[in-house]
């Protein structure tokens, strides 16, 4: 395949998401179908999904979804994992052979918990340990990629059109309280299995339509804190930024949105609410290197919720719709209508205005 530089591909991409605020479970079939009317936004070089609440039987365990280039790589990686984790279940990822998806790597999943003795000797908490393990594997083990590492959630991705990727991974057999989806039209980087969206770390997942102009500035900054960008796609850095801001720095979702899609200084100066003005001045000053410039619409998935966000200039489209307990997000209204023809409220959030939806307490 020709990579960027040899060929130039115009930008596209599609995102879609759904969540039940009451925590009602939905199969992955609806989100797969939502990508069909947006078929032409992708070019078959990447599709993927994230589902939340899909592994209730193993909800106490981290679910690692992994790609291996060969059987030897897998054996090597399993030996490494067994020194650090109690693995309660390991299995080949259930997939369906279809003509539209070819050349798949070896795909496995593991349900595992970090060994207490290892955590004690390293003096780190469980999540930090899992994050470091993911970074270590993705950086140091050739031909091994962790593409999902959260509890009671999972990412499913491949090279292909998203509606085919959903069929390939048998998503209709999973039930989740929220789902996100992505159809890829790679612009600057090769289309390969690890480069498909979502990009995940722990329970955070990102699907993204756009192109990050500030990628290298963001990457250099975030790599100072132990993250390593190894997957050759700019979106990866957004996932690590969100993990850093939300988990490590303890910012709220709203504040994190104020960092990555910060308002212009002139907009901050014109704010009438003095507290709001101080907050935004602080966030832009404190985390200047994490401002993401260039066009984007993203959906962040996390345990118990979703956040949709556009760049501050709103250079990518995004619509939100609601019906009963469910909220739908997509690049196009047609995708929302495919999920719910009778959707009641439909609106387009402004650039930099986060839309945060949480499942009510105790329902997930």
């Amino acid at each position: 395949m020709k990579i960027e530089g040899q060929v130039r591909i115009p930008s596209g991409c599609a995102v879609s998401a759904v969540i039940s605020k009451d925590g009602n479970k939905m199969s992955g079939e609806m989100i797969t179908n939502s990508m069909k009317p947006m078929h032409d936004r992708s070019n078959g070089l990447g599709g993927g999904f994230a589902g939340y609440g899909i592994y209730p039987a193993y909800k106490e365990f981290y679910a690692f979804h992994m790609f291996f280039d060969s059987r030897d790589r897998r054996k090597e990686c399993e030996a490494y994992l067994k020194e650090r984790f109690e693995i309660v279940q390991s299995e080949i990822m259930p997939t369906r052979k279809i003509p539209a998806i070819t050349d798949e790597p070896i795909i496995w999943r593991y349900f595992a918990a970090p060994l207490k003795s290892v955590l004690v000797s390293l003096q780190v908490d469980e999540k930090e340990f899992v994050a470091r393990t993911v970074m270590k594997i993705n950086t140091e083990m050739d031909g091994v990629y962790v593409f999902s590492s959260g509890k009671n959630m999972g990412a499913f991705k491949a090279v292909g059109f998203p509606e085919d990727v959903g069929v390939f991974y048998k998503l209709e057999e999973y039930e989740g309280y929220s789902w996100t989806a992505h159809g890829r039209y790679p612009t600057n980087t090769p289309g390969w299995w690890g480069g498909a969206h979502p990009f995940t770390l722990l329970d955070y997942s990102i699907v993204h339509n756009g192109e990050i102009s500030s990628y290298d500035a963001n990457r250099r900054f975030i790599e100072m804190f132990g993250y390593k960008c190894t997957l050759q796609t700019d979106t990866e850095v957004i996932t690590y930024i969100m993990d850093y801001l939300l988990r490590v720095q303890g910012l709220t979702l709203d504040e994190a949105a104020g960092v990555i899609a910060a308002p212009f200084w002139s907009t901050i100066a014109a704010k009438k609410d003095a507290d709001d003005q101080r907050k935004h001045t602080y966030l832009r000053t404190m985390f200047a290197n994490l401002l993401i410039t260039g066009p984007f619409s993203i959906v962040l998935g996390f345990e118990g919720g979703l956040m949709a966000l556009n760049d501050r200039l709103k250079l990518r489209s995004m619509v939100v719709g609601e019906k009963d307990d469910r909220v739908f997000i997509a690049s196009e209204e047609a995708a929302v209508r495919t999920m719910e023809p009778d959707v009641e409220t439909v609106w387009s959030p402004a650039g930099g205005e986060p839309v945060i939806i949480k499942v009510k307490e105790g329902a997930f």
């Binding site: 009317p37 947006m38 078929h39 032409d40 907009t267 014109a270 200039l313 709103k314 489209s317 619509v319 196009e332 209204e333 047609a334 995708a335 209508r337 495919t338 439909v346 387009s348 402004a350 650039g351």
Partner: protein, 240 residues
Amino acid sequence: MQIIDAANLDYRAVNETLRSAKTDCTIKGCCGQRFIAAGMSDRNLTIEGIPGNALGAYLNNASITVKANAQDAVGDTMNEGKILIHGNIGDAAGYAMRGGKIYVQGNAGYRAGIHMKACKEKFPVMIIGGCTGSFLGEYQAGGLIIVLGLHKDHKRIVGNFPCTGMHGGKMFLRGSCEDIAFPSQVTARCAAPEDLAEIREYLSEYCEDFGHSVDKLLSAPFTVITPDSKNPYNQMYVAN
């Protein structure tokens, strides 16, 4: 009149059916098919469901009525004709249109009327019933944009940075616009009776289409925005 059932047809099939019909058409069950009626002339088209992006691109005097919301880039580079939307429209409506009319009952997204221009006898008109997002009339070079701010729900009639880079044409916003910041290269002033006389014809047509009263609409003050000179950005980047 021919009915086209768009369910399970992709954009190519819908457009081919439409082009071969050679008569007025109604598209039913539309769901995201792009480029509908691109470049089309001499035809009336009604759409039920959600048309995809670039509806009526390069439109050439066909008339399109959409009975729901429309997506992005409605009337992209439109030349002539009319697009009537009984709902909201997405971003970048009327991108570089140089003639024809886009009348919208509801709101518009970001960058409505971006790079709109007039050309010889061509004069594009866009009327938005509700509110618009930021960058309304960005780089506007000609034509007329009217925003009415009906059912605006305490929101501002336009978002941030309207008229950025505007260097031609006219914009009318219903209301006194004290809460809107305009760039320094344009002048915003209260519309005089002779200004309103210029837009009465278009507003009357809009009111007929959507069932409003033109006198009631015109009873509120309007703000009119024009660029300060033909070349307001002469020395913006280099001193020449």
